[in-house]
């Protein structure tokens, strides 16, 4: 990557000199630089003064964005995919002519899995680098840490992870699902097709699983017929011994295990379920925390048969996705897998580009105002649209894990689900 950037930098500075030289010629405005040098079409670029009134890092030929994820520390395992997807999207946008005739340059900062570091780096990107947008964050904790920074310095954050909801900001576009989009349709499906009546909820002990389980419980008890929750358990992050709870599950014999265990605990949980003789092809298990990325660590044979509720699976059969998967593997290697969040991260730069073009400006306020109603038809998940509440309309899908670590899609909602970050009756 670094060599690519060096090249693009040399290329653009050379171009700038050429353009300046040309400006001296009286005929220059008539000549299209595209025609002369057969480079991507930057010619129609509107004047910088018109599209950038607030002093962002936008020049006649370039616009700078930030990428802010953890590439070191505990969260690197999850955030690596997002970084890869964002770089791919930026590459593709540049190859297609950039944004408002400007090539996207990115500055990458490392949040180092540490929330104060995220806040500090966000401030650096906004105040020192004056980036036009930031693609970044993964955990809710990191998002909560940077939110005041983005609001104070008026930046724009594209946040990729599915999360617990209960948040909305002018300065954030949430490209992942909020909780109800991920939970409700999946529960309806499991109750209908697996005649699930009793549910055992199990999750890691922090805000996302707790909030998600609260919504799940309300839905099961209030909206699903004759259904009940027979157990609800939380384990500290990093917990590695699940034999006791597995015995409890054996005792209660729930129709459905509903899981939101994350990180290293996730791997331990599924390995121990398998070892304890719980066959996931017979015992229905629905999770909202396992994507293709996690299966890499869990091992396909340990997770085969379980159901995962997401909006995207790598195996989705549509032309957009085939193109995306091929491009992703070409850039990052045949063996990489693409999970739900990676796809959502890929949407960030594209949605930003479309919004900038609709607004005709890089100004944050204009982008925030223009975001509602932006449609992206080339999304790998199919088609997405930004809701006025800055979340995405998206479908909910259920996939069954196969031994090779991929999902077979067994259900998808017919329509896009409206994002509802503050769900009434679920709080």
């Amino acid at each position: 990557m670094s060599s690519d950037n060096d090249n693009s930098h040399k290329f653009s500075s050379m171009r700038r000199k050429l353009l300046m030289g040309m400006a001296a010629l009286p005929a220059a405005p008539l000549l299209s630089s595209t025609g002369l040098f057969s480079t991507p079409a930057y010619a129609q670029a509107p004047a910088t003064a018109a599209v950038n009134t607030t002093g962002l890092a936008v020049t006649d030929t370039e616009v700078t964005v930030g990428i802010l994820h953890s590439v070191t520390g505990t969260m690197a395992i999850s955030e690596t995919g997002s970084v890869q997807a964002e770089k791919l999207a930026i590459d593709q946008i540049n190859a297609a002519g950039g944004v408002l005739g400007r090539k996207i340059k990115f500055i990458q900062e490392d949040g180092a899995s540490d929330w104060p570091t995220f806040a500090e780096k966000a401030k650096k990107l906004l105040v020192n680098d004056k980036v036009a947008a930031v693609m970044g964050c993964w955990t809710s904790a990191s998002r909560k840490a940077v939110l005041p920074v983005f609001e104070q310095y008026n930046g724009m954050l594209y946040y990729p992870t599915f999360y617990e909801g209960l948040e909305q900001s002018k300065n954030v576009i949430y490209t992942g699902q909020e909780a109800t989009q991920q939970i409700l349709a999946g529960l309806d499906w499991v109750q209908k097709t697996k005649s699930g009546k009793t549910f055992y909820l199990i999750g890691s002990d922090y805000i996302w699983p707790r909030t998600s389980m609260k919504i799940a419980r309300k839905h099961i008890e209030g909206h699903l017929k004759d259904s009940s929750v027979v157990g609800e358990e939380y384990f500290p992050l990093g917990h590695t011994q699940f034999n006791s709870v597995i015995n409890k599950i054996k005792l209660k014999k729930p129709d459905v295990i509903y899981a939101a265990v994350v990180g290293g605990s996730n791997v331990a949980f599924y390995k121990q379920l398998k070892a304890a003789g719980i066959d996931l092809s017979k015992q229905t298990l629905l999770t909202i925390s396992v994507t293709e990325d996690e299966i890499d660590g869990i091992g396909g044979e340990n997770f085969a048969g379980a159901y995962s509720c997401m909006k995207y699976f790598q195996s989705l059969d549509n032309p957009n996705n085939k193109e995306f998967v091929a491009a992703f593997k070409k850039m990052w290697g045949e063996k990489t897998v693409i999970g739900d969040v990676t796809q959502a991260a890929y949407l960030g730069p594209w949605l930003w580009k479309l919004t900038v073009e609709k607004a005709g400006s890089f100004d944050i306020d204009k982008i925030a105002a223009a975001s509602a109603g932006i449609e992206f038809t080339k999304a790998p998940e199919g088609y997405v649209k930004i809701h006025p509440n800055h979340h995405l309309w998206s479908k909910t899908r259920v996939g069954q894990a196969q031994p090779d670590g991929q999902f077979k899609v067994v259900f998808e909602t017919p329509d896009l689900i409206e994002p509802d970050p503050f769900p009434k009756g679920y709080q």
Partner: protein, 308 residues
Amino acid sequence: MFADYSLAELGSIFVMQGFAGLILFSVFVLMALGLAIIFGQMGVINMAHGEFMILGAYVTYFTSQFFLHFLPSLFNIYFFVAMILAFFASGALGMAVEWLMIRRLYKRPLDTLLATWGLSLILQQVYRSVFGPREVGVELPNWMMGSLALTDTIEVQINGLFVMGLTIAITIAVALLMYKSAWGKQVRAVVQNRVMAGAVGINTEQIDRNTFGLGCGIAGVAGSAFTMIGSTGPTSGQLYIVDTFLVVVFGGAQSLLGTIASAFTISQAQSTMEFFLSGSMAKVLTLLGVVIILMLRPQGLFVIKVRR
């Protein structure tokens, strides 16, 4: 909560729950053994213990890949080869670390704490850069997965039995080494009175290096075994480190028996409470219990007399 179940069901659950406690016990002993040896004999608090374990896990992963691609007919037994390799890999790294770093810090125990913590961060980043930030899945031979059905309702995990067997074997080996061999006698002499041991001709530096290597090697074997029950990634070692320290400190630093007793107490308490309470609550109560007991008995459960 038991009203709805038949006596037979309850019986089998109690058997399985007892077994779950024993597995947890074995896991704790295996985790803590290496650290207890290092802490007990040298007074070095090795914060990088988890990373030595994960080195063993990575060795296991690569051994499994090697067997899968080059010796598929022997895949069923690769795990034993992997454990031996893990022992030597982690042990060698441990000896190198002792030689480069630890031996310069023996007189400054607090600095070893910081230095080994730094080492753990460095190792994590090395794993991340070399092996990639994503977790890897270690494939197990079929015979090691699943469970044995003893009766219709009682099932015991094969990997649990395996860990238990391994723990017993290693504990016996360590006990024999420490209490029956000439080398063990020298180690104990150094623990009890370092200056005097040196005066009678024991090469205390050599003893230190080998002990540190042994402790790290056992950590490597533990890491190798834990690929069956946990994750293998650059930071997975961190998942074990807290429990490991808890067991060692609670047991009394210099005592093998103390380590075992403390692992037993903590594991039984935790697995029983996890069954009746929620996971987080069980952890809180376990920690609270340990804190209270350590307040009353700061030296831990068992302690041997040492000349400082």
